[in-house]
Symmetry: C2
């Protein structure tokens, strides 16, 4: 792996470049992004220089697509004529089925490996990029393809998890998309019914509304590409809230058990 | 205010004793609690010695009831014959209407001022008590009665808020009780539908399930004494989740606005 191209140099793409450098990657890193992002990313050392998609696709052993989901899908649609057959294309999209299906349809001349580094922060853009963003965090791959990328992921300190796309999308519907909707709906309903609830807010309300700070920009594509699983999770949550009053004690006990298990070391 | 009695010396009662001492209170502090709690509280300096309720009621200028809600109600039912007419009885119960109504019924010979210091932590018991537990946190009082207690609350660094009991119970239904139910139900439904969701858990799932770590012991009395307001909030939340899919973008925007307003300084 001598030359890497990062398509979409924001928080995740920029962090990928910085993490590669920190882990000892000495090859070229090309960035395909807006002029502004390339200027910032070059200054921060996340990429060496900007390139067009065609240039990067022809030059790189690895292409890392870190745009929003529909941006990745757009890139996949035009990438095939540009790539070298020995290039590996991977991505960082938050849902995997739509992207992996598009890659299977559109990208015939080289190999694609779906990926989802489960990291992020409230700030966006390459200015917030961090070489340690992936440390200790899961990095989902959609197959166990043998490729040096996996050694770099390990070198970042991330925890590789192999999941097929359907299973990934189902799990994140529960672990990430449902909590987001629960938090946004909670904050929105308090906004309408008790806008002054903040006067008696404790740390619990802050925890419960932290996800609701997220911008919808990041969520539009996620919700659209994981509709079926998100709807199923949301329906189950509504049903559970409807029956909660019949057995507060039992549901508190179950919730406590799950919450504790999440916090078990290992 | 020369002698203070703390009835129920756990996290809140113990912290009240420690906060009084830290703020310069030099009078006697009697504790009415289990033998074990009194031993721990004495060792930590939160109380000077244990006493029976009768003894404390006869000796104290201020009685601070910091038991669970139904414990406070039980105490109020038997306190009247024991108290001096110049004693102020106050409390730390998490709901206010049931307690203030019981005090109006049962406590005729002295004054009662309902209170709710909005502080806590995951650990319980006097071992976790902290002189700074109330610092920067709201301390609700159910009237603006002129009494030295209010100067001590200010000296603890707490933020006094006067709310009548009905308004208090309505606001905490939204700011505290609904977030608790939302978190417990979320954790319980994931427990049943996707127990392995933890393998791809990010910080959002941890935030969303932190309240679900709470023990039901603390919640039984709260939910029972605030049923009407809690039910109304829960119904509104369910209705909002049901219509969420029709306007994700608008609800995200509202939720974001409320969550940001919570975090505005001042």
């Amino acid at each position: 792996m001598k030359t890497v191209g990062i398509v979409g140099v924001g928080l995740i793409g920029g962090s990928f470049g910085l993490a590669l450098r920190k882990a000892g990657f000495t090859g070229d890193i090309l960035g395909v992004s807006s002029e502004r992002s390339i200027a910032d990313a070059t200054e921060r050392g996340a990429v060496d220089r900007g390139a067009t998609l065609e240039e990067a696709a022809g030059a790189c052993d690895l292409l890392f697509l870190s745009q929003p989901i529909f941006g990745i899908i757009e890139t996949l649609r035009k990438l095939d004529p540009m790539v070298r057959p020995d290039t590996l294309v991977t991505d960082a999209g938050s849902t995997k089925q739509a992207i992996v299906e598009e890659a299977a349809r559109s990208l015939r001349r080289c190999t694609f490996l779906g990926g989802h580094p489960m990291a992020g922060k409230e700030l966006r853009g390459v200015g917030a990029a961090d070489a340690d963003l992936f440390r200790g965090r899961p990095w989902v791959l959609t197959s166990d393809l043998d490729h040096p990328l996996r050694q770099w992921i390990a070198a970042f300190g991330a925890r590789e998890i192999i999941l097929d796309p359907a299973r990934h999308d189902r799990l994140v519907a529960w672990s990430s998309h449902l909590p987001q909707l629960a938090s946004s709906a909670l904050a929105a309903v308090i906004h309408d019914h008790a806008p002054d609830a903040g006067t008696v807010a404790g740390p619990g309300l802050l925890d419960s509304t932290r996800l609701a700070m997220s911008s919808f920009d990041l969520w539009r594509d996620i919700l659209e590409t994981n509709q079926r699983e998100v709807s199923a999770a949301l329906d189950a949550y509504i049903a559970r809230l409807q029956t909660l009053r019949q057995d507060f004690e039992g549901e508190f006990a179950k919730g406590r058990e799950f919450s504790r298990s999440l916090r078990q070391p290992g």
